[in-house]
C-alpha cells in the first residue's frame, strides 16, 4: 500500500518537473526524425527535482516517447485536478459570500482560514489574499496558487525521495492499522506526506492520496471550524426505508439516501457539481441506535457508545440518483474517528 503510494509520488514528481520546466521556459527539444515515434527530452530544473526525476526513470538511457506522453497526460490531469480543486475552494467561498451578505463575519473567518491555509501550504505572498472578489483577481490568484502548489509539491517530493529508503526498510512496520491510524507516535515516526496536514490534522490514510484529498479537504476544515456555514447549504438526507430493507437482506446493496426533514446527514455538493459529499450533521450524537446507520455510511474508528467526540476525517462520497436532488447513492464510505475522554 505504502509502496504504491510512493510510486504515485514519483509519477507526480515527474509531472511537477515537467510543469516547472514549462513555467520556467525550460528547454524541451523534440526530434521527429526518428522512424519510431520517440521523443528526446532534456529537462532543466532545480537540482533536487532533476535528481528525483532521473531516479524515477527505470531506464534513463532509453529515450522512449511513451513515458513522456504518460508524463504529459499525468501533468495535464494532475495540474487540472489541482486547478479545479483550488477553483472549487475559491468558488465555494465566493458563493457563500454572494449568497448571504448577512454572514459577512463568518465569511471573513473562512477567508482568514483560507488565507492561513494558503499561506502555510503554498508560501504565498502576504498580499495575495482572497479579499477581492473580482473574477480577474481570482484567476490571477489561482495561477499563483497553482505555481505555489507545484513548488510545494516539488519540495515535498524531494523530501520523499530522501525518505524513500527509510520508508521501504520500515515498510512492514509502517503499514497502517487502526492503531497506527490513530497513534500520535506513529505520526511522529512517519514522514508527513500531506502538505495540508499541519492545518487540517488529517491522518495518514488520507495522506496517501494528497491530490484527491484536495477535493474535500476544505470541506472538512469548514465542517470542523464553522459547520453552521455548511448547514445552510446542506441538503438534509436520511437513508431511504427501502434501502434499509435491502441492506438488511443483502449487505452488498448500495445505500440510497433521500431528502428528509429531520435527518442526521448532510449532502454538500461542490460548486462545479463534480462531487457530492455526505457528512454527519453538526453535533450529531451517534448513539447506539444511530450507529447502525452511521457505520454503513462511514468507517467508524474507535467507536464506543460512550464516546466523547468524533472527528470527520473524510466525508463519504455520494452521487445523485436524480436531477431534482431528492436521492443519492453512497459511492464511497467516509471516515469518522471517535475518541473517549478519560
Amino acid at each position: 500500500m505504502e509502496k504504491q503510494s510512493l510510486i504515485k509520488y514519483y509519477w507526480a514528481l515527474l509531472v511537477v518537473l515537467v510543469l516547472l520546466a514549462g513555467s520556467n521556459h525550460a528547454v524541451a527539444q523534440t526530434s521527429s526524425s526518428s522512424p519510431s515515434p520517440t521523443v528526446k527530452v532534456t529537462v532543466t530544473a532545480s537540482p533536487t527535482s532533476s535528481s528525483s526525476a532521473n531516479q524515477d526513470k527505470s531506464s534513463p538511457d532509453k529515450e522512449s516517447l511513451f513515458p513522456l506522453i504518460i508524463s504529459i497526460l499525468a501533468l495535464v490531469a494532475s495540474g487540472g485536478a489541482i486547478a479545479l480543486t483550488i477553483l472549487n475552494s475559491k468558488k465555494f467561498i465566493n458563493r457563500i459570500q454572494d449568497d448571504d451578505k448577512k454572514h459577512t463575519e463568518e465569511i471573513n473567518l473562512i477567508k482568514e482560514n483560507y488565507r492561513k491555509l494558503s499561506s502555510s501550504q503554498m508560501s504565498l505572498q502576504s498580499n495575495k489574499s482572497l479579499e477581492t472578489s473580482s473574477r480577474s483577481t481570482s484567476e490571477s490568484d489561482t495561477n499563483i496558487y497553482l505555481e505555489a502548489m507545484i513548488e510545494r509539491h516539488s519540495e515535498r517530493i524531494s523530501e520523499l525521495e530522501g525518505k524513500l529508503k527509510v520508508t521501504q526498510s520500515n515498510q512492514q512496520s509502517s503499514i497502517s492499522s487502526n492503531h497506527t491510524y490513530l497513534s500520535n507516535q506513529s505520526r511522529n515516526q512517519e514522514p508527513d506526506f500531506n502538505p495540508f496536514n499541519q492545518v487540517n490534522g488529517l491522518s495518514q490514510s488520507t495522506n496517501t492520496q494528497p491530490l484527491e484529498n484536495l477535493a474535500y479537504i476544505e470541506l472538512v476544515n469548514i465542517y470542523r471550524d464553522n459547520p453552521k456555514l455548511l448547514e445552510q447549504k446542506a441538503i438534509k438526507v436520511s437513508e431511504d426505508k427501502d434501502s434499509i430493507a435491502r441492506r438488511h437482506s443483502d449487505s452488498s446493496q448500495k445505500i440510497v439516501l433521500e431528502k428528509a426533514t429531520n435527518s442526521n446527514y448532510w449532502v454538500i455538493r461542490d460548486e462545479v457539481g463534480v462531487d457530492c459529499w455526505l457528512l454527519p450533521k453538526s453535533k450529531l450524537r451517534i448513539d447506539q441506535f444511530r450507529y447502525e446507520t452511521t457505520k454503513a455510511l462511514f468507517e467508524c474508528h474507535g467507536y464506543q457508545s460512550e464516546y466523547s467526540t468524533f472527528k470527520l476525517v473524510k466525508p463519504a462520497k455520494v452521487v445523485p440518483l436524480s436531477t431534482d436532488e431528492q436521492t443519492w447513492q453512497l459511492e464511497e464510505p467516509g471516515i469518522l474517528e471517535f475518541s473517549v475522554e478519560s
Binding site: 448571504d100 448577512k102 453552521k228 445552510q232 436520511s238 437513508e239 426505508k241 438488511h248 437482506s249 443483502d250 428528509a260 426533514t261 429531520n262 435527518s263 442526521n264 453535533k283 450524537r285 448513539d287 447506539q288 441506535f289 444511530r290 447502525e292 446507520t293 452511521t294 457508545s305 460512550e306
Partner: protein
C-alpha cells in the same frame, strides 16, 4: 423653614379681621383668658377670601381639639371660609365608611373613653380638661359629656379620623387614605365621581338610615338639622330624586347593611354613631373574570383570572368588575389572597402567570408534527431558519380548554425583525353583561428570540394509542432524549399513572402509563425549569359506531407468533396498524431502533418473533410485571443487531417454565395491542380463539389458558372492550394446533382430507393430524421441528454460515439453544429466501453443505417414518380403514426447510425429497408406495392462526376428545411396564388419556437395542438407492446391508447406535415426575432426536477446522 418657602407655600393665618368684627386684640405675646366661644368669634371675624380655592384646612388654632372644632365650624357655619372643602372631606369619609365592606376597605375603629383614660394618661387628662362645648352635639350620653367617648378610625392601621358629637365624623388633617379612589394628592374629596350607579343608590340608602337615626338620640335641634341638611345635600349629589328614599321601608334599609356588628372592630354604639356601625352589605354577583371553558370542559371547577388592571383593559370602573362573591375589583385584597389569609372556594390565578417568563424554541421547522401550533408560528425564524416554538402558557388553561380551542386563542407574531416574538392570549371571561356574552381578556407578552433558549434537537416522543374511546384507560408515552442532553428538552407527562423514568448510558428515557390521552406535554430542562408546552392534537374518538365482533386466532409459536382475525366471516391475517402519535419529528435512525428496545413497536410484521424484552424493567421478574413498562414484544430488525444474549431479551417463551412472567408479559402486550386495533375499528367485543400443541403437558395447557383468562380480564377492565376468552374445556375456541392446521388446509387451501396427513412444523414442535373422509383419525404433537432439523446443526458448527453465506458470526459463538435458534430464525427470515434463490445452488456441491442437507433430510424423513408407523398402527387398530399411505400437507415455519433439500431451492412434487418421503412412509407403514405428494402450505406459519378463525368447516371430529394417546413408534417401558413400538403410550385404563390423574412416572426407559430407528435409517438409505436420489447423500460410514437384519445392522453400525443410546439417556431423565407436568414424546421421536444429535456433533467435529 426659610422665608422663600414661606412665601411660596403658605398663607398667613389670621390675615385680616373683618371690618365689622367685635374682637378685641391685645399686644403680641400677651395672653388673655377668654371663653372658648372666642374661637368661634375669631373664625367668624376672619376675612379668608384671600386663601383661594386650594385651601383645605385651617391650622394653628391653638387647641388640642382644633381639628374637630374646625370641622364643626365648617359644617355648622355656612360661610366658613373653606366649608365646601371640609364638607367634601366629610362626605368622602362617610362614603368610605359606608362602602367599607362593598369595596373591602380596611377600616377599623378604636373607642377612647377619655373619662377613664384621664386617670392614667396626661394627654387624656388634657383632652378632658379641654373638652369642646357640647353646644352643637348631635346626641347625649346619659349625662356624660358627649365628647368624652370618641372613636378613632384607622385606615390600614393608621389613624385617619375620629367621631365627633357635632359632625358625626371628622377626617384627620393629614390622614393617609392610600387606596381610596377619592383621596388624591393628599386630599380627601367627594366620592360622587368615583361611584357607579349601584353604589350611589346603596350609599343613598345608607345615608337615609343615618338621617333617620339622627333624631333618636337627643342632641340639639339646630345642629341636628344642619347635619340632616348636609346628609340630604349629599344624597342629592348621588341621586336625582331623593324623595323616594323617604318611602323606603325600614326593613329594606336594614337588609342593605352588613350583618356583622363588629365590622369595624369596636362597635360604634354612642348615640347616633350607631348608624355608622354597619356599612353597606356587599352584594353577591357572578364573577366578571370567570374563565368560560370549552363546551367539553363544563364540569371543571371555576377559575378566576385576576388582573388588577383589568378595569383599564376593559375601560370600566373597577367597582363594576366583580371578582368573586361580594368582592369587586375595588375591594379585592390581592395580597391577602396571595398570602392565603383570604381563601376562596374557587380557583384563581393572576393573569401574569398565564404566560411563562421565557420563550423557548426548537431550531427546526415542523419539529412537532403531533402538536398543535398557534397562528403565526409558521413564520417564525431564527438565524434565517424556520423554528418551532414551545408554547409558553400555563398548563392550567388546558384544564379549561381543549387543545384545539386553546390554540385558537393564541397567536404568535414575529417582531423587531425576527429578533423577538409577541404572544397574544385571548381568553373568554364571563364579563359584565350578566353572561349574555363573554368578554375577551387579552394578555400580551413580548419575548426575545434568544440564543440562550435554542433547543437544537428534538427527542423521540411518542404516544400510544392515538385515539380516544369510552372507558379506554390504557395509554402509554415514550421519551428518549437521543443523548442530546441540554440541546433538547425533557418532558413531564401530566397525570401519569405510572411514570417509569430511567437512564441507559448517556440516554435519558421515560415510559409512562396514563389513564387518559394527555392534552399537552410539559417541557423542561435538566434543572427542571419549565420551558413551554406542547399542545397535543386531540385524537379521534372511536367506538361511536358498533362494528361486528371480532374473532381473533392466536398461534403462539416457539419462534414466531401469528394472529388472524375473522370479521364478518372475512378471514385475514392480522396486522398491527400503527396507533402511535409521533409527537416529535425525531430522526428515523434513532426512533425506529429505540422503539424496538423500549416501547411498543410500530407496525411490526406478522408473524411476530416470539421474543420479549424486559430491558430496564423496574420490577423483579418474580413480581407482578406490567405490560410495556416491564416488558415488550421485541421485533428484531435484523440478525446483526439482534442479540438474544443481551440482558432483558427473552426467547423460548412458549415452552420455558423458568419464569412464566415472561410468557405472560409477551401475551399481555400482544392482547393489548390487538385490542387497541379492534377498538380503533369500533369493535366492542373480541372472541379469542387459541391453540396449543398436544405436546403440552396438562399443566402447560391449563396454565396457558389461565394466563389468557387473566390477561383478557384485566384488559377488559382497562379498555372497555369486552373480551371473551375460552376456558380449558372449550373445544371450539381452544383447540390443538394440529386441528387448526387441518382446518386451514381443508377450508383455506381447499385440499381434500379424504385421506390425508396434515403437519404443522414449527420451531419447536410438529403437530400431526391424520384424516380419513374428513374425519379426524388421530392427532399428536411431537417435539421435532425446526430447531432439531436445522438450527441445532448450525449451532454446533456456526462457521458454516461464515464459510458459505458470509455471515459475521462473531456474535454467534456463545449463543446456545433457544437463543441461537432465535437469532437464526431472524437471519433466515431476513435472508433465507435470498440464499435459497441465489446461493444454495452455488454451494450445492460442497460436501459440508451436502452433509448438512443430509442431516435435515434424515430428520424430516424420520418424521415421515413415524407418520408411516402411525398409519400402520391405526390401520391395525381399525381406526384407519384405507390401506395406503396419505398425501402430506405440510405447513408451519419449519416447512421452509424442505426447500433446502430441493435443487433450485424450491421444493415441489418433482423434488427428489418428495419421492423420498413417500417411499419412507410406505416402508414404515408397509403400504404400497403410491407416490403420495407432500404439499407445502402457500402461507407458512399462517396455518394455525388462520385455521382458528375459519368459521365453517367440512371437517368433523374437531371437538373429539378421544384418541389423544400417543403411539410409541419405538419400544420403551414406563415404570417397568414394557410398551411395544406399535402400542399406545399409556399406563392407565383411561381410554382417552395416557395417564390417570394420580399417575407418576418414576422410570421411563428405552432399551439400548432399538428396533425401529435402525429400520428407519436402513429404509432411508435403501430409498436413496432405490430412487437413485443424488441431491441427498447417504451417511458416510453407514453400512447398508443388502438384506436387512437388525442384528447385523447393530454389528455393522455399532458405534452409531451406541452413541445414540448414550445421547438418549440424558433426554429420558427429563421424563419423570407428575404426569400432569410431563411433556410426553413418542419414543421413536426421542430416539430420532438422539440420532440427529449424534450425527450433528459428528458433522460439526468433522468440519470444525475447515478454513
Amino acid at each position: 423653614m426659610n422665608s422663600d418657602r414661606i412665601e411660596e407655600n403658605s398663607t398667613f393665618l389670621l390675615p385680616n379681621l373683618k371690618s365689622n368684627t367685635d374682637l378685641k386684640s391685645t399686644s403680641a405675646g400677651q395672653w388673655d383668658i377668654r371663653q372658648s366661644v372666642e374661637f368661634q368669634n375669631v373664625a367668624k371675624s376672619l376675612d379668608f377670601s384671600a386663601g383661594g380655592e386650594d385651601i383645605k384646612s385651617v391650622s394653628s388654632i391653638p387647641n388640642m381639639w382644633a381639628r374637630p372644632l374646625s370641622m364643626e365650624m365648617a359644617l355648622h357655619i355656612n360661610d366658613y371660609p373653606i366649608r365646601r372643602q371640609m364638607v367634601e372631606q366629610w362626605q368622602g369619609m362617610l362614603a368610605a365608611l359606608a362602602l367599607a365592606e362593598v369595596r373591602g376597605y380596611d377600616i377599623k375603629t378604636k373607642l377612647l373613653e377619655l373619662g377613664k383614660l384621664n386617670q392614667i394618661d396626661d394627654f387624656a387628662r388634657s383632652l378632658v380638661e379641654l373638652l369642646p362645648s357640647p353646644v352643637n352635639s348631635l346626641y347625649s350620653l346619659n349625662g356624660k359629656h358627649p365628647w368624652q367617648d370618641i372613636y378613632v378610625f384607622l385606615w390600614r392601621g393608621k389613624a385617619v379620623g375620629m367621631t365627633s358629637p357635632s359632625t358625626l365624623i371628622c377626617p384627620s388633617e393629614e390622614g393617609d387614605w392610600t387606596g381610596l379612589p377619592w383621596w388624591n394628592n393628599g386630599k380627601l374629596g367627594s366620592p360622587v365621581n368615583f361611584l357607579n350607579a349601584d353604589e350611589k343608590n346603596q350609599l343613598s340608602l345608607w345615608l337615609e338610615r343615618l338621617r333617620r337615626e339622627l333624631y333618636n338620640h337627643g342632641g340639639n335641634r339646630s345642629p341636628l338639622n344642619t347635619i340632616a341638611g348636609l346628609i340630604i345635600e349629599f344624597q342629592s349629589s348621588l341621586q336625582n330624586n331623593i324623595s323616594i328614599l323617604t318611602d323606603v321601608p325600614e326593613e329594606t334599609l336594614k337588609s342593605a347593611f352588613s350583618v356583622n356588628p363588629q365590622f369595624f372592630g369596636d362597635e360604634l354604639n354612642r348615640g347616633v354613631l350607631k348608624a355608622l356601625n354597619t356599612p353597606l352589605k356587599a352584594q353577591t354577583k357572578p364573577s366578571s373574570v370567570r374563565l368560560i371553558p370549552s363546551l367539553q370542559k363544563q364540569n371543571v371547577r371555576e377559575l378566576l383570572i385576576i388582573d388588577p388592571n383589568v378595569d383599564k383593559k376593559w375601560n370600566q370602573p373597577p367597582q363594576n368588575i366583580w371578582i368573586h362573591d361580594t368582592t369587586n375589583l375595588t375591594s379585592l385584597n390581592l395580597d391577602a389572597l396571595r398570602n392565603k389569609q383570604l381563601i376562596w372556594d374557587v380557583r384563581w390565578i393572576e393573569s401574569e402567570k398565564l404566560l411563562m417568563s421565557d420563550f423557548y424554541f426548537i431550531a427546526q421547522e415542523n419539529a412537532l408534527p403531533g402538536c398543535l401550533l398557534p397562528v403565526g408560528c409558521q413564520l417564525l425564524s431564527y438565524n434565517g431558519q424556520r423554528i418551532t416554538p414551545l408554547i409558553p402558557i400555563n398548563p392550567i388553561l388546558l384544564e379549561y380548554f381543549t387543545p384545539e380551542d386553546l390554540v385558537r386563542k393564541i397567536s404568535i407574531e414575529s417582531i423587531n425583525g425576527n429578533t423577538g416574538v409577541r404572544i397574544v392570549l385571548d381568553l373568554p371571561l364571563y364579563g359584565l353583561d350578566e353572561g349574555k356574552s363573554t368578554q375577551n381578556y387579552r394578555l400580551v407578552r413580548e419575548y426575545p428570540i434568544s440564543e440562550d433558549n435554542v433547543l437544537s434537537e428534538v427527542p423521540v416522543l411518542e404516544l400510544w394509542p392515538n385515539f380516544k374511546a369510552d372507558n379506554w384507560q390504557e395509554y402509554y408515552a415514550f421519551y428518549y432524549d437521543g443523548e442530546y442532553g441540554d440541546d433538547t428538552f425533557q418532558v413531564q407527562l401530566p397525570d401519569a399513572a405510572e411514570p417509569h423514568p430511567f437512564n441507559d448510558g448517556r440516554g435519558i428515557y421515560q415510559i409512562a402509563r396514563l389513564t387518559e390521552f394527555p392534552a399537552y406535554i410539559s417541557c423542561h430542562n435538566s434543572l427542571r425549569n419549565q420551558l413551554g408546552l406542547m399542545l397535543l392534537k386531540t385524537p379521534q374518538q372511536v367506538g361511536k359506531t358498533h362494528a361486528s365482533d371480532w374473532t381473533v386466532g392466536v398461534d403462539f409459536g416457539t419462534s414466531f407468533t401469528n394472529v388472524y382475525v375473522n370479521r364478518d366471516d372475512v378471514v385475514t391475517r392480522f396486522s398491527l396498524e400503527s396507533l402511535h402519535l409521533m409527537v416529535t419529528e425525531s430522526d428515523a435512525d434513532a426512533r425506529d431502533r429505540v422503539m424496538i428496545n423500549y416501547f411498543i413497536p410500530t407496525e411490526p410484521p406478522f408473524p411476530l418473533s416470539s421474543v420479549l424484552t424486559t430491558k430496564k424493567s423496574s420490577r423483579k421478574s418474580d413480581e407482578q410485571t406490567r405490560q410495556v413498562l416491564d416488558g415488550r414484544i421485541y421485533i428484531p430488525k435484523d440478525s446483526d443487531s439482534f442479540k438474544p444474549d443481551d440482558e432483558g431479551i427473552k426467547t423460548y417463551l412458549k415452552w420455558s417454565t423458568e419464569n412464566l412472567n415472561f410468557n405472560r408479559l409477551f401475551l399481555k402486550n400482544l392482547a393489548l395491542q390487538i385490542t387497541a386495533v379492534a377498538a380503533k375499528n369500533d369493535v366492542k367485543k373480541i372472541q379469542w380463539s387459541l391453540s396449543f400443541p398436544s405436546a403440552f403437558s396438562k399443566s402447560d395447557k391449563n396454565r396457558y389458558i389461565r394466563t389468557w383468562q387473566d390477561i383478557t380480564k384485566e384488559i377488559q377492565a382497562r379498555t372497555g372492550i369486552e373480551q371473551s376468552c375460552p376456558n380449558a374445556d372449550d373445544d371450539y375456541f381452544y383447540r390443538t394446533e394440529s386441528l387448526a392446521v387441518a382446518q386451514y388446509f381443508a377450508d383455506k387451501e381447499g385440499f381434500n382430507l379424504v385421506n390425508s396427513t396434515c403437519i404443522d412444523m414449527g420451531g419447536g414442535s410438529s403437530d400431526i393430524s391424520i384424516w380419513e373422509e374428513n374425519n379426524l383419525v388421530h392427532q399428536c404433537s411431537v417435539q421435532l421441528a425446526g430447531k432439531d432439523l436445522f438450527s441445532q446443526f448450525l449451532e454446533l458448527n456456526p462457521k458454516f454460515l461464515k464459510r458459505h453465506f458470509d455471515v459475521d458470526i462473531s456474535q454467534w459463538q456463545n449463543l446456545r439453544g433457544a437463543k441461537f435458534s432465535a437469532k437464526l430464525d431472524v437471519l433466515l427470515r431476513q435472508k433465507g429466501d435470498y440464499w435459497l434463490n441465489h446461493q444454495r445452488d452455488l454451494v450445492a456441491e460442497d460436501k459440508e453443505f451436502q452433509e448438512l442437507i443430509q442431516l435435515t433430510a434424515i430428520g424430516t424423513a424420520g418424521l415421515y417414518y413415524y407418520v408411516g408407523i402411525l398409519l400402520r398402527v391405526l390401520h391395525t387398530e381399525g381406526r384407519y380403514n384405507k390401506n395406503k399411505i396419505t398425501p402430506v400437507y405440510l405447513g408451519g415455519n419449519g416447512s421452509r426447510f424442505l426447500h433446502w433439500l430441493a435443487e433450485g431451492g424450491q421444493f415441489n412434487r418433482n423434488s427428489e425429497a418428495n419421492e423420498l418421503f413417500s417411499k419412507i412412509m410406505s416402508l414404515a407403514s408397509k403400504f404400497d408406495d403410491t407416490h403420495e405428494d407432500t404439499l407445502l402450505s402457500s402461507a407458512p406459519k399462517d396455518e394455525v392462526a388462520c385455521g382458528l378463525v375459519l368459521s365453517d368447516s367440512k371437517l368433523t371430529g374437531l371437538t373429539r376428545k378421544d384418541d389423544l394417546v400417543l403411539i410409541a413408534g419405538e419400544v420403551c417401558s414406563i415404570n417397568g411396564e414394557p410398551i411395544d413400538w406399535n402400542s399406545r403410550l399409556k399406563i392407565s385404563n383411561n381410554e382417552i388419556d395416557s395417564f390417570s390423574v394420580e399417575d407418576k412416572i418414576a422410570n421411563f426407559t428405552i432399551p439400548e437395542e432399538l428396533t425401529q430407528l435402525p429400520k428407519f435409517l436402513y429404509a432411508f438409505h435403501a430409498a436413496l438407492r432405490v430412487l437413485q436420489i443424488e441431491g441427498i447423500k447417504p451417511l458416510e460410514g453407514y453400512k447398508v446391508l443388502r438384506e436387512y437384519s437388525i442384528e447385523q445392522d447393530r454389528l455393522n453400525n455399532q458405534k452409531l447406535w451406541s452413541d445414540t443410546s448414550k445421547e438418549l439417556t440424558a433426554s429420558l431423565l427429563k421424563i419423570r415426575g407428575n404426569t400432569d407436568d410431563i411433556r410426553l414424546e413418542p419414543p421413536f421421536i426421542l430416539v430420532l432426536k438422539a440420532l440427529l444429535s449424534v450425527l450433528g456433533k459428528r458433522w460439526a467435529e468433522k468440519w470444525k477446522n475447515r478454513v
